[in-house]
């Protein structure tokens, strides 16, 4: 990911900044112009909890180059208590142990490195709770 593109996403990637639709009150992550639930266009900032639950997940065995060392790993759709849904990697786990309903905490992690000399990209991953 080019540095400027990573930089533009810092509020959502590094702080999990989400938005709440003023019309239907659904929380959406990342922020967007039109509410996917009611097509509303007015938003308030919303803060996401650092906890969630797996909605669905898959195990990646053939990973992109930057993630090859981490394979096999879990990618999961996580729902936070606010109702926002995030696609996150699940780490510090045995992939077979992760499935719908798994409670997770969200932790700050290094997402990827741009090769051996590029920038380091940070964000959140899920880890099994408890």
């Amino acid at each position: 990911m080019p540095s400027p593109r990573y930089w533009r996403a810092i509020p959502s990637r590094l702080r999990l900044e989400a938005v709440r639709c003023r019309s239907c009150e659904n929380v959406v992550y990342p922020s967007r112009r039109i509410c996917p639930h009611c097509h509303g266009t007015e938003w308030d900032p919303a803060e996401l909890s650092r906890t969630g639950e797996v909605v669905t997940s898959t195990i990646v065995h053939i990973a992109p180059d930057d993630f090859a060392m981490e394979a096999p790993y879990v990618l999961a759709l996580i729902e936070t208590p606010e109702g926002a849904r995030l696609m996150l990697q699940v780490t510090d786990c045995d992939p077979e142990d992760i499935g719908p309903g798994t409670a997770v905490n969200l932790e700050f992690r290094r997402i990827r490195a741009e090769g051996n000399s590029g920038i380091l990209c940070y964000g959140f991953k899920a880890v099994p709770a408890g």
């Binding site: 590094l14 981490e70 780490t91 510090d92 932790e107 700050f108 290094r110 940070y122």
Partner: protein, 348 residues
């Protein structure tokens, strides 16, 4: 008076046992356990580094402090494993935690005492009135060369402390530093692993500075070892801090709560700060705590601290150090450890 208004710690979940490292290199595991007093150590995941550990520790510190992160006017991270050679670790942290941009940020390095160095400067900025709150962090993903004694201890973790002037969880009653040019351990620019002087790291380095700094602060405050409920000394292994405590007149009971090295290993800049966090997890109001760090090269910072009535109610949130050390952990083989520590050379 200034002091600690929030604290937090973070330790990665991967562990490797001393026996597993000894097995790899044909060494006597029992002798290692006996000599270094190390059972196991933490290992960072591929996605963990000084920045991620610092953010997680500081998040708990902010939550326990109850302050608005925007009021933090200075952020210092002490480490000898900053992920970038040129680009601050602290800038990622402030944007992750909603601090700044009106904030002074710097990365510190002084071998294993960079953490207390950051804490000292943060404290002094608050005492001077220059900033309202300041954050000092010690964190590392420590390096140790394969088949070196350091490989049994070099681990990952850290702790974060927010200093302020009101609503203190811990008073800082006094500080004292003792420093000299002592080449006991070093890593040259561009080198992957540190080098050390073997037994030279003991008497003229660790013990000279730890004992001198501790005796200095005891003299400065007019206090005796028996005045303290707890004491934390830098933990390069399990043996040195116990020997230092004994020579200074501290008992086993005074140091055992903060002696996290046996299960965590040496987290370098995060070592004594994490030991202090373990003590704050259980200290009662009024308890006095001695903290003495050590950084090769070499120097020690000593702090005399006293828990306040506010500490028990504020530490209810956040992760406890011994809870992170005991469960849940994931044990790795030496092969997995070599992969996680990126000791294996791969093709581009």
């Amino acid at each position: 008076m200034a002091g600690i208004v929030g604290y937090g710690a973070f330790i990665p979940r991967h562990r490797i046992r001393s026996e597993e490292i000894a097995r790899q290199w044909g060494k006597d595991a029992a002798a290692i356990r006996r000599g270094l007093v190390l059972e196991e150590k933490s290992v960072p995941g591929l996605d963990e580094d000084t920045i991620t550990i610092s953010v997680e520790a500081a998040r708990d510190a902010i939550e326990r402090s109850g302050i608005d992160p925007l009021r933090i006017g200075a952020v210092y991270i002490g480490s000898e494993s900053h992920p970038y050679a040129v680009k601050p670790s602290g800038t990622v942290l402030i944007d992750a935690l909603g601090i700044g941009p009106e904030v002074h940020v710097a990365d510190f390095e002084f071998a294993c005492k960079a953490g207390t160095e950051a804490m000292f400067v943060a404290l002094c900025l608050v005492e001077s009135g220059r900033v309202e709150y300041a954050l000092g962090i010690g964190a590392d993903t420590s390096q140790g060369a394969p088949n070196d004694a350091l490989e049994f201890s070099a681990s990952a973790g850290g702790a974060a402390y927010i200093f302020g002037a009101k609503d203190l969880l811990v008073d800082v009653l006094e500080t004292y530093s003792y420093t000299s040019d002592t080449p006991d351990f070093w890593r040259r620019e561009g080198r992957f692993y540190p080098r050390h002087g073997g037994r030279f790291t003991g008497e003229p380095a660790y013990f000279k500075h730890v004992l001198s700094a501790t005796r200095g602060i005891l003299k400065k405050t007019g206090m005796d070892p028996q005045d303290f409920k707890y004491a934390v000394f830098h933990m390069p292994n399990g043996k040195f801090p116990q020997q230092a405590a004994k020579q200074l007149g501290f008992t086993k009971e005074q140091i055992e709560t903060g002696l996290v090295v046996v299960k965590m290993g040496n987290t370098y800049s995060g070592s004594s700060p994490t030991g202090l966090a373990a003590v704050l997890d259980v200290a009662d109001p009024g308890d006095k705590i001695l903290l003495t760090s050590f950084g090769s090269g070499a120097g020690s910072d000593s702090f005399v601290l006293q828990a306040t009535d506010l500490l028990p109610e504020r530490r209810v949130t956040g992760r406890k150090v011994w809870s992170m050390l005991d469960t849940p952990v994931r044990y790795v083989t030496y092969g997995e450890y070599a992969k996680l520590r990126e000791k294996i050379i791969l093709n581009d």
